[in-house]
Amino acid sequence: MTGVYPFVFSKPATESAALAAGADGGRYIAGGTTLVDLMRETVERNSPTR
């Protein structure tokens, strides 16, 4: 849990909700192989308020 900025996590139940979440500044995570590593190094940085 080094570096990673706090984030809000959601699991949208519908395609439209998923698209809305992504359009609203969210990022999609699947296996996490790239995203988690980059978040830990703060290369990927979410806005501190979300």
């Binding site: 849990m1 706090p6 809000v8 996590f9 979440a21 296996g31 996490g32 988690v36 979300r50």
Partner: protein, 201 residues
């Protein structure tokens, strides 16, 4: 420090060390905004923390964790299951391998909150009523370890490798176990242990 080292065996090594240090409460970073999607929110607006419930080794478990908590840290630090090891915390070594709904997963690279409702199997969940899993016994019989640090990940990964049908030859085992590294170099015997277990020997 109260108790002295004689208390360690009674309470367990980890708990003794925690009790012996001046531990302070663990603050969870909490955003001021309420969140739309996190499960199990407390009314205090804990948008960046969630309650996650899953089945671990057949037992229903639940914890409130910061969303950033990896599945590995959930198991080791919150659920009292330190058998799964943190080797690299980068998804490169496989020491953190657990089974999520039967699939091999590097638990260091996935967030605990992503697995609400999942069935998790760790190294602690392989033995049945005090009897070792055949692969665990095979690792002993074929000397498939030296320092043992990669071993929980090797065994959990090996169990799934066999179940996947990817242990039909030594070459196939090497290929499908290539995500589990061993710095001691016990690979030859690791492959033998998996090979023999797959054959039902």
């Amino acid at each position: 420090m109260s108790g002295g080292f004689g208390g360690a065996s009674a309470v367990g090594r980890r708990r003794f060390l925690v009790m012996s240090t001046a531990a302070v409460g663990l603050p969870l970073p909490v955003s001021g905004r309420a969140s739309g999607g996190s499960p199990g929110l407390a009314p205090a607006g804990a948008g960046t923390a969630s309650t996650v419930g899953l089945t671990v080794n057949g037992e229903r478990r639940s914890a409130v964790v910061d969303n950033r908590t990896s599945l590995l840290d959930l198991l080791r630090e919150h659920l009292g299951l330190p058998g799964t090891k943190k080797g690299c915390d980068q998804g490169a070594c496989g020491a953190c391998t657990v089974l999520v709904d039967g699939h091999r997963v590097n638990s260091c690279l996935t967030f605990a909150v992503m697995h609400e409702g999942a069935r998790i199997t760790t190294i602690e969940g392989l033995a049945r009523g005090g009897r070792l899993h055949p692969l665990q016994q095979a690792f002993i019989d074929h000397d498939g370890l030296q320092c043992g640090y990669c071993t929980p990940g090797q065994i959990v990964s090996g169990v799934a490798c066999i179940a996947e049908g990817h242990a039909r030859s030594r070459e196939e085992i090497r290929e499908w176990m290539s995500g589990n590294l061993c710095r001691c170099g016990a690979y030859t015997n690791i492959v033998t242990a998996i090979e023999q277990t797959a054959k039902g020997v």
